[in-house]
């Protein structure tokens, strides 16, 4: 316990910097436990509050700026790539677009609290050509708010944090095994959910080749473009004859489909 806290007191800022940089850079690593622990060290007088907050903000900016620049440079495809490696890629693009449409630049602040969105928000802001100074300002504010809460939590509950650390140390290697098991279980559940969803979608999806054949045949399907307004703005192309329908708008007029006609939709 003593060794652990002295190590954190000595290299605390560096460890917080590395942890926050990894998290904000998109690695699936939580930063909150480290910030709570750092907050507890602040309460014990082993770490200074100002530099801790400063390091968190700088690491957040360094982690987010490359993604913003990538969004500016490569536009919409970078979002698709990021969503592909996310644990829930199928709802990822649509969900992030909806959040950005609703909140605009403020989504950089709000997004810090929405799982999955924090990584997507900077490239989305870049793709939307949000000005760099504005991006930096909103990201710095969001980093401040995001880091302050767990640091204060650690400062207020430092006695409880120390107690918990002592119990974990009593558990020895068991604590590490427990943590790894919880993470592995979470990933396993998400993977099974995704597998079942993909299996279902494979059964009902239509391939590009199949659609081409249908469009060249007698019974031409109705093609609906159900992308969001933002997605259409970023990629203003469509399959010839496709009809746009905003499925998020429950009051939108429903397109009349003649009986017996297949409907093919694309949402990204």
């Amino acid at each position: 316990m003593e060794e652990m806290t002295s190590l954190l007191a000595q290299y605390g800022l560096l460890l917080v910097f590395a942890n926050v940089l990894l998290t904000q850079g998109g690695a699936p690593v939580p930063a909150t436990p480290m910030l709570i622990l750092a907050g507890a060290l602040v309460a014990q007088g082993k770490l200074a509050f100002g530099p801790l907050l400063g390091v968190s903000v700088v690491a957040t900016l360094l982690g987010n700026v490359p993604w913003y620049l990538a969004g500016r440079r490569y536009g919409y495809p970078i979002l698709r790539t990021l969503c592909r490696i996310s644990i829930e890629p199928d709802s990822c693009v649509k969900r992030t677009e909806d959040i950005f449409v609703r909140w605009g630049a403020l989504s950089l602040i709000v997004g810090k609290y929405i799982p999955g969105f924090a990584t997507i928000a900077p490239p989305l802001a870049g793709a939307m050509k949000l000005g760099f100074p504005r991006f930096l300002l909103y990201t710095a504010i969001s980093a401040l708010l995001w880091a302050v809460a767990p640091i204060f939590g650690g400062m207020i509950f430092h006695a409880e944090v120390e107690w918990l650390l002592a119990r974990l140390e009593d558990m020895g290697a068991g604590a590490l095994i427990l943590a790894v098991a919880v993470v592995a279980l979470y990933i396993a559940v998400k993977s099974v959910e995704r597998y079942l969803l993909m299996r279902f979608l494979r059964m009902v999806r239509i391939s590009v080749k199949e659609l081409r054949e249908l469009l060249g045949g007698e019974t031409i399907p109705v093609v609906l473009d159900v992308r969001s307004a933002l997605a259409r703005k970023l990629d203003p192309r469509r399959i010839p004859g496709a009809i746009w329908m905003d499925i998020a708008d429950t009051h939108a007029a429903t397109v009349e489909i003649p009986p017996g006609r297949d409907v093919v939709v694309y949402c990204s």
């Binding site: 999806r205 239509i206 080749k209 659609l211 259409r232 429903t254 017996g260 409907v263 093919v264 694309y266």
Partner: protein, 34 residues
Amino acid sequence: MLMDRGYGRVRPLEGGLEAWIEAGGEFEQIDRQD
């Protein structure tokens, strides 16, 4: 959601618009007022 609105057989396009264009499918530009 579309089926809730009374549509019959609704099939999502695999890979979306990007896959269609990558495969050499024709496309048209969306008019601003569209």
